[in-house]
């Protein structure tokens, strides 16, 4: 199971990184979201995997490590706040700069066919 999860984490990271390296704001947002999933799973897995061990006292005899869960919870919330900000920033950039490229200007070869608004 561990290998499976590790593989998923690695793959999610890779996908996230690939999208992160795209030129437009929206794919970057998606990429960061994907990366956030990977990060959360990674951080979660640092407490090792436990089946049937929810950290609620009295429900089982061996508990999962509750601390990483709490950390991931915080991370999820913060990640949401950050993503939200980035999304709105992307809108603002599109409105201010006339395109949704991360550098605010379309690369040379694209200048000719500037996207219509």
């Amino acid at each position: 199971m561990e290998s499976l999860l590790a593989g998923c984490i690695g793959f999610l990271t890779a996908c996230g990184v690939f999208l992160l390296l795209r030129g437009r704001t929206f794919p970057v947002v998606v990429g960061l979201t994907m990366l956030a999933y990977a990060v959360n799973l990674f951080l979660f897995s640092s407490g090792r995997l436990t089946l049937q061990g929810a950290a609620v006292l009295g429900t089982t005899e061996h508990y999962a490590d509750p601390l990483p869960q709490a950390l991931v919870l915080t991370a999820i919330v913060i990640g949401f706040a950050m993503t939200a900000y980035l999304v709105i920033l992307a809108i603002r950039a599109r409105a201010d700069l006339g395109n949704d490229h991360v550098d605010g200007k379309l690369p040379g070869n694209q200048m000719s066919r500037k996207e219509s608004r």
Binding site: A14, G23, G58, A81
Partner: protein
């Protein structure tokens, strides 16, 4: 203590002109003169002691840890230089009063001048080499200010910057040298360093130290090849030149040579570097001086050559040479200062410094002319004037050195040649200006200067004569004391007689005088020859060099930073691969021995779905809506994974955040293109895939390595104390609101801040409303479908009920304020979606940022409340109460804190989503604060 005042008075003097700025000019000048005058008096008061060979000290701790103390040492050398600095300084103050015109700001000038004087005094008086460097750099700065005094003139600006750059560079070298000296001798105290010459010269760093040290001296003293800044510094007002370039600044380097003579001198390297540099400078300066048509230019080059002379003397390394050097310092200061001032007078009264225009001024300003001629004669080394004496000593020394072994005879010959040229340019200064026919094309008719403007010149010229006639009486003690200070040991026998009998040195002088006359008479041919040579203008070269430097820097910078985010990210990701990857190579096995859990079909299916949907997200990333659907599947699978691995709280949170995120992105997509154009080149795509997979591999392997390693953690403590100490059975929630409540506190702060920032972003945004979606279909007409409207209304109370339930059970079972808050927020957002802004606003008109503030306040107050019980911030409290009918009920402060979380989450989420939603309506967010 009085010693300190010698330094402090000029410092205070910098304030005087500023304070007396709106007094009458003379009054201001007078007031400015007072502090240095007092300083001079104090100095003279110590004269007897100094002449007796004592060296007075005063020291005061400043930065002991750096070995930088305020430490003063007044010995013969310091006394001599202080005398020059203060004495000539006073004359300059008087002179400048008349030189400066009405529109020049005199207070500013005097302030700079006094600052410079302070710096010079600091150098010559300091007994701590770091302090010495402190004042050394201060001279560079203050001279920059003085040279650029007429900043509206471009040559003044350039000259100043050039001087600053050259001397600044030198200063840095000097700093290095001094610090190394400090490390070698273990002290920055001058006494120690001068005492440990042997140690220094034996040390392996000596050559490095010496070179750096000499770079410092030579740049300051305009020694070849660093001489070029001095002539360009002549753009300064003449008083400045008279002060800086005769007596003080340029002498600082010489002073350093003299000061460190015991510590540094005496080695072959020293001889070689110092004397040869001096010799070259002597010749070059003397030769070039002759061809300058600008009076000050001529004086500048003559200064260079005389500085070379002194350097050469110190380079020879014999005690007598050193004495001669000290003596020439005095003489050069006097006649050169007077010459500069004379030149200034001529410039001031005739409106020109060009010797081709200036002719026959004898008829217009006889007195000034006489004074100038005497001084010039002294410069030329005419007998009965001070210049003659030191030059004689110089010639004698050149005859006695054996630096170049069998070729040592070259030096006296070259010295004589230099003497010839110096006679020649001195003659030119006299003849070409005061005689040689009538003035040509002067703007105004020359006349004598005001009485007191000439006085400084008179004083100095008288000194030249007196020293020349009766050296022993006038400067004997001073010279002796100074030489003693330089040599450290006892001073050799030397006589200051005017007549040493007929000897080779005298012959050399005669040759020089005769030859000089000869050359000057036939200067025509020489000038022609000189004009054939390509002339290099230092200033344009310098400016060009600076421009080139800037250009190169811009090229390098532009090449490094192309302003592309992708490149920056690539650097970041490569860093991850390298820094996290390299250690893995040294890890012999990933598997850490902890047995793996079995894989069952269902998990495999889940993993498969996760991977497929993730991959699909990448594949479809250009069709943005589809990508969105795909990634929400990823999110769903992740939360299912959380459920699978016993993290119900995480699953709940992930799910609810998921929904909010989708709504957010859907809202956002309306303002963004729905499709991403194909952009990246195949090579770029391949590179990215490569990088991405490398990062993925590294992260994946690390996570596997960690998961399969046994470990022990602090979590057992939380499991043990959750119920007893935190009053809750859901350990995760207890950690969030109690054990690590402070994290949650920060977390909700982040959420709140984000919502504020988003509101800020949305205010004054230029918006636009696409009339159709990506495919170009016109939008459906129906705004709010009936069914949705009705159902959403009946759903709201249910949702509220559920969120209350989730909130309260959070402490003991999965749930809590955050999730409850999101449920409430989503239910309310559903109302916006189903009925529109108008409808909701008419029913619930709240400013959500207030809600955020209230939520944070609740959390904050809950935390601070524990202070009342003398407990730290966020210390929790809980207890169980028996209420008659209802039974046992738990009350916990954590619940209040969680309420803060709940309110903040609701407020922030609504502020974010609603503000964005309102963009297309008449209720757009605007910056309404400044009511």
């Amino acid at each position: 203590m009085t010693l300190l005042w010698i330094l402090l008075l000029p410092l205070l003097g910098t304030l005087v002109p500023l304070l007396t700025a709106n007094w009458r000019r003379s009054a201001c000048a007078m007031a400015t003169a007072i502090p240095p005058a007092f300083a001079l008096m104090i100095l003279l008061y110590h004269a007897s002691a100094v002449f007796a060979g004592e060296s007075l000290r005063y020291s005061l701790a400043w930065i002991p840890l750096l070995g930088l103390d305020i430490s003063i040492r007044l010995d013969g050398l310091a006394f001599l230089f202080s005398l020059l600095i203060l004495g000539i300084g006073l004359l300059i103050i008087l002179y400048a009063r008349y030189y400066l015109s009405e529109q020049d700001s005199m207070p500013r000038f005097y302030a700079y001048l006094m600052l410079f004087m302070t710096a010079m005094m600091g150098i010559v008086l300091s007994n701590n080499i770091l302090q010495l460097w402190f004042f050394w750099e201060l001279t560079s700065i203050s001279s920059f200010l003085l040279i650029s005094y007429w900043w509206h003139k471009s040559e003044a600006r350039r000259g100043a910057r050039m001087a600053l750059t050259v001397t600044g560079a030198g200063g840095l070298c000097l700093l290095a040298a001094l610090l190394l000296l400090g490390q070698v001798t273990g002290s920055y105290d001058l006494d120690v360093i001068l005492a440990s010459g042997a140690v220094i010269q034996q040390h392996s760093w000596y050559p490095l130290i010496l070179v750096l040290f000499l770079l410092g001296c030579f740049t300051k003293s305009a020694q070849f090849p660093f001489h070029f800044w001095l002539p360009n510094a002549m753009a300064a007002p003449t008083p400045v030149s008279a002060y800086l370039h005769s007596a003080t600044m340029v002498k600082a380097g010489i002073f350093l040579l003299a000061r460190f003579y015991p510590a540094m001198a005496g080695t072959d390297l020293w001889f070689l570097l110092v004397s040869l540099t001096g010799l070259t400078t002597l010749l070059v300066g003397a030769y070039l001086a002759l061809f300058k048509h600008d009076l000050k230019g001529l004086l500048a080059y003559s200064t260079i050559s005389h500085l070379g002379l002194i350097t050469l003397l110190f380079g020879m390394g014999t005690d007598l040479a050193a004495v001669a050097g000290v003596f020439h310092i005095i003489n050069h200061a006097t006649f050169k200062a007077s010459l500069f001032m004379a030149a200034g007078i001529i410039d001031h009264e005739s409106g020109s410094r060009d010797m081709r225009k200036l002719n026959g001024l004898w008829h217009f300003m006889p007195i000034t002319a006489t004074l100038a001629m005497v001084a010039a004669a002294a410069m030329a080394g005419v007998p009965l004037l001070n210049g003659f004496l030191s030059k004689e000593m110089f010639f004698v020394e050149t005859l006695q050195q054996h630096l170049l072994g069998s070729l040592s005879w070259i030096i006296p010959v070259l010295a004589t040649i230099a003497g010839i040229f110096s006679v020649a340019y001195s003659m030119r200064f006299i003849h070409d200006v005061f005689f040689n026919g009538k003035p040509k094309g002067l703007t105004k008719t020359p006349h004598e200067p005001p009485r007191y403007m000439r006085m400084p010149v008179e004083v100095l010229v008288v000194l030249c004569i007196l020293v020349g006639v009766a050296p022993g009486y006038i400067v004997g003690d001073l010279l002796h004391a100074a030489s003693l200070a330089v040599l450290g040991t006892d001073v050799p026998e030397y006589s200051l007689a005017i007549w040493h009998g007929f000897n080779v040195a005298l012959l050399m002088s005669i040759v020089a005088l005769a030859g000089g006359a000869l050359i000057y008479v036939n200067r025509k041919h020489l000038f022609d020859f000189q004009n054939t040579l390509p002339g290099v203008d230092a200033i344009t070269t310098f400016e060009a060099a600076m421009k080139l430097l800037a250009k190169r820097c811009q090229q390098i910078y532009g090449w490094l930073d192309n302003g592309s985010l992708q490149r920056y990210l690539v650097f970041l990701l490569m860093a991850i691969v390298v820094l996290a990857g390299l250690p893995l190579l040294q890890l012999d096995t990933l598997f850490g021995g902890r047995p793996e859990l079995p894989v069952d079909a269902v998990n495999a299916a889940g993993a498969a779905m996760l991977l497929i949907s993730a991959f699909a997200t990448v594949v479809f990333h250009r069709q943005r809506v589809v990508a969105l659907l795909m990634i929400s599947v990823v999110g769903l699978m992740v939360s299912i994974a959380f459920t699978r691995f016993s993290a119900p709280d995480l699953a709940l949170t992930q799910l609810s955040v998921e929904v909010v995120t989708i709504i957010l992105l859907m809202l956002a997509l309306f303002f963004l293109p729905h499709k991403t154009p194909k952009q990246s080149s195949p090579t770029r795509v391949i590179r990215d895939i490569g990088l991405a997979s490398m990062v993925g591999v590294v992260i994946g392997s690390i996570s596997y390595a960690i998961m399969t390693r046994p470990f022990n953690t602090i979590s057992d403590y939380f499991l043990a104390n959750s119920k007893t100490g935190g009053g809750g059975t859901n350990v995760v929630n207890v950690i969030l609101v109690d054990f690590r409540g402070f994290d949650t506190f920060g977390e909700i702060a982040v959420l709140g801040i984000a919502s504020l920032g988003i509101f800020k972003l949305l205010t004054r945004i230029p918006v636009f409303k696409p009339s159709s979606d990506g495919e170009g279909r016109p939008w459906a007409l129906e705004r709010h479908p009936v069914l949705l409207a009705t159902v959403s209304q009946s759903l709201l109370p249910l949702a509220l009920m559920v969120s209350v339930f989730i909130f309260f059970r959070g402490h003991n079972l999965p749930g809590g304020g955050f999730i409850a808050g999101l449920v409430t927020a989503v239910a309310l957002i559903l109302q916006y979606i189903a009925h529109g802004v108008e409808w909701v606003k008419s029913r619930m008109n709240v400013e959500y940022q207030r809600v955020v503030a209230v939520g944070l306040m609740v959390a904050l107050v809950t935390g601070v409340a524990s202070w009342v019980f003398g407990k730290p911030f966020l210390t929790s409290w809980f207890d169980y109460f028996d209420i008659p009918i209802l039974g046992k009920i738990e009350l916990a402060s954590a619940i209040a804190f969680d309420a803060g979380v709940y309110i903040t989450v609701v407020g922030s989420t609504l502020l974010i989503l609603a503000s964005l939603g309102k963009m297309t309506t008449s209720h757009r967010p605007v910056h309404t604060e400044g009511i």
